[in-house]
Point group: C2
Chain length 448, copies 2
């Protein structure tokens, strides 16, 4: 009998897991259950189709159903798993009854946090998630004049920009004083807010959601600052781990609500692994558990869970969280954490900052690149970074996450070599300038 | 009496030096001698003005003459230094006579290697260097129908692309089997050659220069493969250190012809420093001396020389050489060395390669990113990298040079986190895929 792995969830973590199992054990039987009609599409692309940067939904699909059949991954579509019995090593499947497994991978993803206000059952509240639903909502957008985005989360930021690009009068409400306040610093977001204003976005910060108002269909959003009339609400509250099945089965749940896993992505119960938005993993420096990372994290965690479930050995390490996203006309990004998080966690830091450029000053298309580096006082080891610019933010964020992980100091970064070629890079790399400025500040203050 | 530093040369190294001296000792007297009418412009931008990517030469100037006066840097323009007496601590200056110094910085730059063939005195041979000359040559280009670029050096590659963009029928000759053969591998250059063909460039590889032909003005280039008629020749032979003055003064000269310096950029003679294209510095892994690096290297070396000449302390470390440049419709780049150099030096390596992408597969504007990583067998520490693509090559090259310097392995790179956001980065970073493929190959071969 081949070893049988059951996977609950058909997102990046679930399908990464399936591939991981097959990589470790090509003969393994792999069954994936998903509630949806499709797997293997990129939900991350949906806001950009709405914004008409991407011309159609069809190209978000990554593989055909037939391709999974061919590699021996048996996907059961529109099928719910309603329970797990870890003692019997079985799951309850709607329409299939009790199904046995040798190893189980829980990749049940995320849910948007319940806004917890009246009117949540009105029509016209759009939770961006499933591609088929998105295709229907995209038709609705053609006739929307005024939309409200609830909360400046990563998705809220993307959808605000997309709706504005679509020509819709877009309002954004958020209880914090600036967008993405959980992860990005105010100075990084200031140019984004400015570019939103240019796009006609009306942002309402320090503003609390009070309810959705309407007769059958939403006609306004009630806030601490009054009512905002609208035809559509994008509910982009923060993502919470969908760990209900796992919790009911007795798997240990952590402080974020995510499933607790070790480096093998093994849960507290033998034979059961978990990956993706349903789990929490530690931040590399602070060990604070994090959830709700990216599709790239979910895929890598899934791969790890799958390899281990399939009898192989693979470790998933703590995360240093390179991140980045377009926002307004800018790209923001960073690694580890910024000043806001450091302050909230009581982590001391010194700063190195620079307003640099992406190409030679005189080369057409040159863009500003603002870099802010946080280092541990004394050792001057990098502990976090944030940026706002356009070109090369993603690649710099990848690098800076490795720089944090490997303990690079301001000295290391201020003496690093950089490519100089007018069309692609400035004489001085902005990261180098930021680290050098940080050292200069310390020297002036007599601290170096 | 303030300490007096004399600097020979007004390029990136010379002016970097001047700034370094002033940073270490604001009261120092700093005199810069340059043979040219200008300092503080970017010669690296010249090919792009010729190619009409940059609209005019004026924007290549970085600072005004007045700005140097204001910061106390005394630049003597169109002034030659003809001799150095290190015992007396004086230099001979045309029109000024004998001038004393406390410390001297030699930043005399590069010369193009003498092509060493008949016809070198004909008109119509363009050596790209000085901006005033470039302005005159740019007018000439308006009436050039057919040009030959001699040698596929970095400048030769840039000028080939620029002349083609300008609409000139451009021929390139080089004795090697592919362009940039000293630094880039054939597989990295193949897409560049293809895109040159699309631009109408005719490349003649394995072809030796025999002479320049003409009556007064060049009318053809004689090669091992016959004569190529032309109106203009761009002589882009390799750069050699201009170390004549230094050699005559008894400074130690290294195997590349560059001035030998230590980490302080001090030469073999007390009180004399050197920086930029006139010196050689060791490669971080091989310790092989390198010369003819970039303006960014020259500037950083100059800064180091200046700080030390001014009484401060600063070290310039061995180089890991991140590099990058547009070539045809692509951007090529890398760090340390590629397969060709490794093979030539007898350095063993294993490969990790990937054909990745710069954004989500479905996002408009997505471009291929080919990554080739070389690692030391056994330890799997990165020893070199080469890439061809468009977006993010420069930032990846900067990172990979640091990865070589800090000894990152294929394991480190294959498990690194990456930003995933459809418009700016793919689910899987090409560097990660390359390292992972390298490990997979080794595993298949039973070597891991």
């Amino acid at each position: 009998m081949p070893h049988k792995t059951v996977i609950i969830g058909g997102g990046a973590a679930g399908l990464g897991s399936a591939g991981g199992v097959k990589a470790a054990d090509p003969d393994a039987e792999v069954v994936v259950y998903t509630e949806f009609e499709d797997v293997a599409y990129s939900p991350c692309g949906i806001p950009y189709v709405h914004g008409q940067e991407i011309p159609d939904f069809e190209r978000l699909f990554l593989a055909t159903k037939e391709q999974y059949v061919q590699v021996g991954i048996d996907v059961h579509y529109e099928t719910s798993v309603t329970g797990i019995d870890t003692a019997a090593r079985t799951v309850q499947v709607t329409g299939e009854g009790t199904v046995g497994y040798d190893t189980l991978i829980v990749a049940t993803g995320f849910e948007y946090a319940d806004p917890g206000v009246p009117g949540g059952d009105l029509e016209g509240l759009y939770y961006v998630k499933n591609i088929r639903a998105a295709m229907e909502w995209d038709k609705v957008l053609d006739s929307v004049k005024r939309a409200v985005v609830v909360h400046a989360t990563p998705l809220g930021v993307e959808m605000t920009t997309s709706l504005a690009h679509r020509g819709i009068e877009t309002h954004l409400i958020d209880p914090n004083p600036w967008p993405l306040a959980d992860m990005a610093d105010a100075d990084i977001m200031a140019p984004v807010e400015e570019s939103w204003r240019e796009l006609g976005v009306v942002a309402h910060f320090n503003t609390t959601l009070k309810g959705f108002v309407g007769q059958g269909h939403v006609s306004a959003v009630a806030t601490s600052d009054g009512e905002l009339p609208c035809d559509l609400v994008v509910v982009a509250t923060h993502k919470t781990p969908n760990a209900r099945l796992a919790a009911a089965a007795g798997l240990k749940i952590g402080s974020t609500g995510g499933i607790v896993v070790d480096e093998r992505m093994a849960t507290s119960v033998p034979g059961v692994f978990a990956a993706g938005d349903a789990v929490e993993v530690p931040h590399g420096l602070t060990r604070v558990p994090l959830q709700g990372l990216t599709g790239s994290h979910a895929y890598a965690q899934g791969k790890t869970a799958g390899v281990n479930a399939g009898g192989g050995t693979r470790a998933y390490k703590a995360v240093y969280v390179p991140w980045g996203t377009p926002a307004g006309k800018w790209v923001i990004g960073g690694a580890s954490f910024g000043e806001t998080t450091a302050t909230a966690l009581g982590i001391p830091y010194v700063l190195g900052q620079a307003q640099g450029i992406s190409r030679a000053r005189y080369y057409p298309g040159v863009k500003p690149v603002k870099v802010k580096l946080l280092a541990e006082p004394g050792s001057l080891r990098l502990i976090g970074a944030q940026m706002v610019g356009q070109e090369g933010i993603k690649e710099r964020a990848d690098f800076l996450a490795m720089a944090v992980k490997h303990g690079f100091t301001f000295h290391d970064l201020s003496t690093m070599e950089n490519v100089y070629s007018p069309a692609i890079g400035a004489l001085n790399e902005p990261i180098v300038v930021a680290a050098t400025n940080g050292l200069d500040e310390l020297r002036k203050a007599g601290k170096l």
